[in-house]
């Protein structure tokens, strides 16, 4: 662009102000000064036209960029999801969150207490099995190095319980039944059926004793299921692992110093058939009182377990 008479200082000053003038950012007096100059200066007036034209063209071109139709809807949907989302992204009523936490803590504490009481109850029942095993089999050493003959074991168990012997022999592979008898600790009227077996380098007892109306607590967190889906309880007491189960009238225990998982595995194998056999025999012999043979036990076994 050819510009005549341009070297004037006024033109230079006005052009420096054209940007602000275009943006309407000039003070009123400066604006009128610029306007006065523009009236008299064709060159600067052309320059302003050019800049105004460019500005308008930019504005018009920019308006070509319109948001796609779905955008508004997408945003709307996301906003609503945000509002209704999980705790509204933790912004909706923090009071509710606080209250819920408090309730959770209280419930957890109650559950914890219940669980602890349940554990104590389980331990007190399982302690019977552990005690019977320790007193008779371990301390009393009431078993021979070579297994007693089958007919002798059957005789000791009596007609009522002789049928359980094959179950123990079959369901505990790798274990040999050394001794089986009806046992009673001195000073304690309670009797129990006791199978003493040897396997995996250790002694393992299976004992069965009357429940007398006692029950183990029904709590999900305390139990493992056996193969039939019934509950198995377990504990580690006095260095022994013990697994316990219930039948209609008996508590059954599997006790040894093996690991907890192994004991549970063995208990899961024998609990269902023992349960079947005992419940069946009771069903057919409800009036018959089992003949308990009191075995010889050491005199120092006067520990009463409740």
């Amino acid at each position: 662009m050819k510009v005549l008479n341009f070297n004037s200082q006024q033109c230079e000053r006005v052009r420096r102000q054209l940007d602000a003038y275009l943006s309407n950012e000039l003070l009123v007096e400066t604006t009128s000064e610029v306007l006065r100059h523009l009236e008299s200066c064709e060159s600067c007036s052309h320059e302003l036209d050019a800049r105004t034209r460019l500005r308008k063209a930019l504005r018009k071109a920019a308006d070509q960029r319109v948001p796609p139709e779905h955008l508004r809807e997408v945003i709307s949907r996301r906003l609503r999801r945000e509002q209704n989302g999980f705790f509204g992204e933790f912004r909706v009523i923090p009071w509710a969150v606080a209250l819920a936490s408090l309730v959770l803590v209280v419930v957890a504490a109650q559950q914890g207490l219940r669980l602890e009481r349940g554990r104590q109850l389980v331990s007190s029942v399982l302690a019977i099995g552990v005690s019977d095993h320790i007193q008779c089999a371990i301390k009393g050493h009431n078993y021979p190095e070579v297994a007693n003959p089958q007919d002798q074991l059957r005789k000791k168990l009596g007609a009522e319980y002789a049928g359980l012997l094959p179950i123990i022999q079959q369901k505990l592979p790798g274990f040999q039944v050394l001794e089986a008898h009806i046992c009673q600790l001195p000073g304690n009227p309670r009797k129990y059926i006791h199978f003493i077996t040897r396997g995996q380098g250790t002694i393992l007892s299976v004992t069965l004793t009357k429940r007398d109306g006692e029950s183990l607590p029904v709590q999900r967190l305390l139990v493992t299921k056996d193969f039939s889906g019934s509950d198995l309880y377990h504990a580690k007491l006095e260095g022994m692992s013990v697994a316990g189960f219930e039948t209609d009238e008996y508590f059954g225990f599997v006790v040894s110093d093996l690991g907890q998982n192994e004991i549970l595995r063995l208990a899961a194998a024998i609990a269902p058939p023992l349960r079947d056999a005992l419940d069946r025999s009771i069903g057919t012999n409800t009036s018959a009182t089992p003949v308990f043979l009191v075995d010889s036990v050491s005199s120092d076994l006067a520990r009463k377990i409740e």
Binding site: F6, R53, K60, L79, W95, A98
Partner: protein, 189 residues
């Protein structure tokens, strides 16, 4: 935090949605990829909704949304720069003879302006868009882009000059192409 007033998304939409077209327009002129521009605008709205309780009713909602847009945009760009050492623009000299300003064509096609605008470095393009398209005041631009007022003015001035130079270049090459096509139709080059 426990006594934050409950916000209704409908109130937010009533205040913020009218500015959707403006936000998208600027976003799409500052980010090359249109789907990324869409994502950016969505993010702006979600972020604005989350901090809507801090927005004072009756104040400039549009400026507030643009502030979030630029905050996000700069965050987005920093990530890009980290990911792939994008080109850094040599800042053109501030002092330049205004006599050198090229002519502005009488007829300007939209696509030429958009092509020219894309060639203007981002800092300057942002200033030009905010002033000439979105028509924010210098003060609002300074607050939105978090730069001093003086920087707004120098970037705007520089940005307009660069746009004008790029447009002249685009128009010139278009003219050459047109002449070439016309000559081609005539059977000789």
């Amino acid at each position: 935090m426990f006594f934050r007033p409950k916000m209704h998304v409908e109130d937010f939409e009533a205040a913020a949605m009218p500015h959707l077209a403006d936000l998208y327009r600027s976003a799409s002129l500052l980010i090359r990829d249109s789907s990324e521009a869409e994502d950016l605008v969505q993010e702006v709205y979600l972020e604005a909704w989350k901090s809507f309780h801090r927005f004072a009713p009756g104040t400039n909602c549009r400026a507030w949304l643009f502030k979030i847009l630029f905050h996000r945009l700069h965050h987005f760009r920093r990530r890009l720069i980290k990911a792939s050492r994008v080109e850094t623009f040599a800042s053109p000299g501030e002092e330049e003879n205004f006599m050198a300003e090229p002519p502005v064509p009488q007829e300007i096609r939209d696509e030429d302006v958009l092509v020219a605008l894309e060639k203007v470095p981002l800092d300057f393009r942002e200033a030009v868009l905010m002033a000439d398209v979105e028509e924010f005041s210098y003060r609002e631009i300074a607050e939105t882009m978090r730069i001093p007022l003086g920087t707004v003015m120098s970037r705007l001035s520089r940005g307009r000059k660069l746009l004008r130079a790029e447009l002249a270049e685009v128009a010139r090459s278009f003219g050459i192409k047109q002449r070439g096509e016309a000559a081609g139709q005539g059977g000789s080059v």
